[in-house]
């Protein structure tokens, strides 16, 4: 599966974060492929344990992902992933 990953402009303010096309069967795999080579950008989305940051949210084809610890939510064809800041934590 190849997914499109878009990042909130709030994140782009800190790091270059262009839209990414990346392959993977889960959100974790897509992000691992899409963020490979940019550990700093990865650290804005995930903590060092690979968990989604507490005040970051990921939408998968219009729904919030359910597995924030391992990001195991499955990715389908034509999937769009949005990474954005949560309303909490600002």
């Amino acid at each position: 599966m190849v997914a499109k990953v878009r990042f909130t402009s709030h994140l782009v303010r800190h790091r270059p974060a262009p839209m990414i096309d990346a392959a993977g069967a889960t959100v974790a795999e897509v992000l691992a492929a899409g963020l490979a080579g940019d550990d700093l950008l990865r650290s804005y989305v995930l903590d060092e344990q690979g968990r989604l940051r507490k005040h970051v949210t990921i939408y998968l084809d219009g729904s919030v992902i359910t597995d924030r610890l391992r990001l195991s939510d499955p990715v389908g064809p034509q999937t769009e992933i949005y990474v954005l800041q949560a309303l909490s934590g600002g």
Binding site: E48, Q49, R53, G90
Partner: protein
């Protein structure tokens, strides 16, 4: 020209001492980002800053041209674990430069309570496992945060392998082998809010800031949650200063760099209030090793002031002549006469977390 760095809730400000007065260098760098720690490394002039992004985690940056440009660094990372509650960096609470004989060594105190070391000017960080696993740390707990944190790292200028740290809440810890092993210190500290039989347990002490006299590092000062304490043996043993007016509560202490008996404090009404006593902001000073204290108010607000001074926001320069103080309500003052009188630089800054005089 002197420079004062101001780490605030909304970025890093700089004030310069021109011919006649202090001037703001203009809008802050990292506008809108909370600064949690700052270091102006006296060995090579590099600047290190920790930003505590609300959404995206704690991020570090270094400048090699005195703040003109910055490069982002990897943040300290706790060892990988599959446990759902595995630790992750919340923020860096303090930096410390290694000794003059350790170019490139930077220490970082973190929350949750860790000490990280970099040997390459912040390009990589390693958790000090000896402290992370030290017997007794199961007693540590958070104070104002969910987890305990390391806010004070004092590297002995005589011996870079001798380091004293302080933890809220976790007491005073001392290494003499560069962090390979740690022993508890802070005997004599007293934590009033603990159960009576636990009040003097060293691992349960809530030191707000620990700092040393530069020329005589055996003389250390602790602004503790419930008092001011003095040490003559590098923090191993401490004695309490009694009858400190207007209050013995506070967060900050600024020791004189060469006079072991002098130090300045920023008292507040304890501890459920945390505002100036009677609405009068003052700085207290001892000249006799913590036996007596004088109170300085000239130039400071004396009516309905609600300024609280955080632990890293009362500092003294290397000459021991000039002090600076910043408050939670955005007040910034400088004293050019050892605290006797104060000049207001701004009353409208964001909440101030940390101040640093350029060395």
């Amino acid at each position: 020209m002197a420079t004062l760095w101001v780490g605030s809730r909304k970025g890093l400000f700089r004030f310069d001492d021109g011919a006649a007065s202090w001037q703001s260098a203009g809008p802050p760098q990292f506008l809108a980002e909370p600064v949690s720690a700052f270091l102006d490394d006296p060995r090579d002039g590099a600047l290190y800053i920790s930003l505590y992004h609300g959404h995206f985690g704690c991020k570090l940056h270094r400048s090699d041209d005195r703040g003109k440009t910055w490069v982002e660094l990897p943040s300290p990372a706790y060892p990988k674990s599959d446990a759902p509650d595995a630790p992750a960096l919340e923020f860096v609470w303090c930096f410390a430069a290694g000794g003059a004989d350790e170019p490139g060594v930077i220490w970082a105190g973190t929350l949750p309570g860790g000490v990280f070391k970099s040997t390459d000017r912040g390009q990589t960080w390693v958790l000090n496992e000896a402290l992370w696993n030290v017997p007794g740390r199961d007693k540590w707990f958070g104070a104002g945060y969910d987890h305990p944190g390391v806010h004070s790292i004092c590297v002995d200028p005589r011996d870079s392998r001798h380091i004293v740290i302080a933890v809220s809440i976790g007491g005073v810890w001392i290494t003499r082998d560069g962090g390979d092993s740690w022993v508890i210190g802070g005997y004599g500290l007293r934590n009033e809010y603990m159960p009576p039989d636990q009040a003097q347990t060293p691992e349960l002490q809530d030191v707000h800031l620990m700092a040393a006299c530069v020329s005589d590092p055996d003389r250390m000062w602790a602004q503790h949650h419930n008092g001011i304490f003095v040490s003559d043996d590098g923090g191993m043993n401490c004695r309490e200063s009694l009858n400190v007016k207007p209050s013995n509560f506070g967060f900050a202490v600024a020791p004189h760099p060469t006079d072991r008996n002098r130090a300045w404090f920023a008292p507040a009404k304890k501890d459920e209030y945390r505002v100036p006593v009677d609405g009068r902001l003052v700085v207290t000073e001892t000249r006799d090793g913590g036996v007596t204290f004088a109170s300085h108010s000239s130039g400071l607000p004396q009516v309905e002031a609600y300024d609280l001074i955080y632990r890293h926001a009362l500092v003294i320069d290397r000459t021991g002549q000039r002090l600076a103080m910043g408050s939670t309500t955005g007040g910034l003052w400088v004293s050019d006469d050892q605290g006797a009188t104060w000049q207001l630089l701004s009353a409208h800054l964001p909440p101030i977390a940390c101040l640093t005089f350029a060395p």
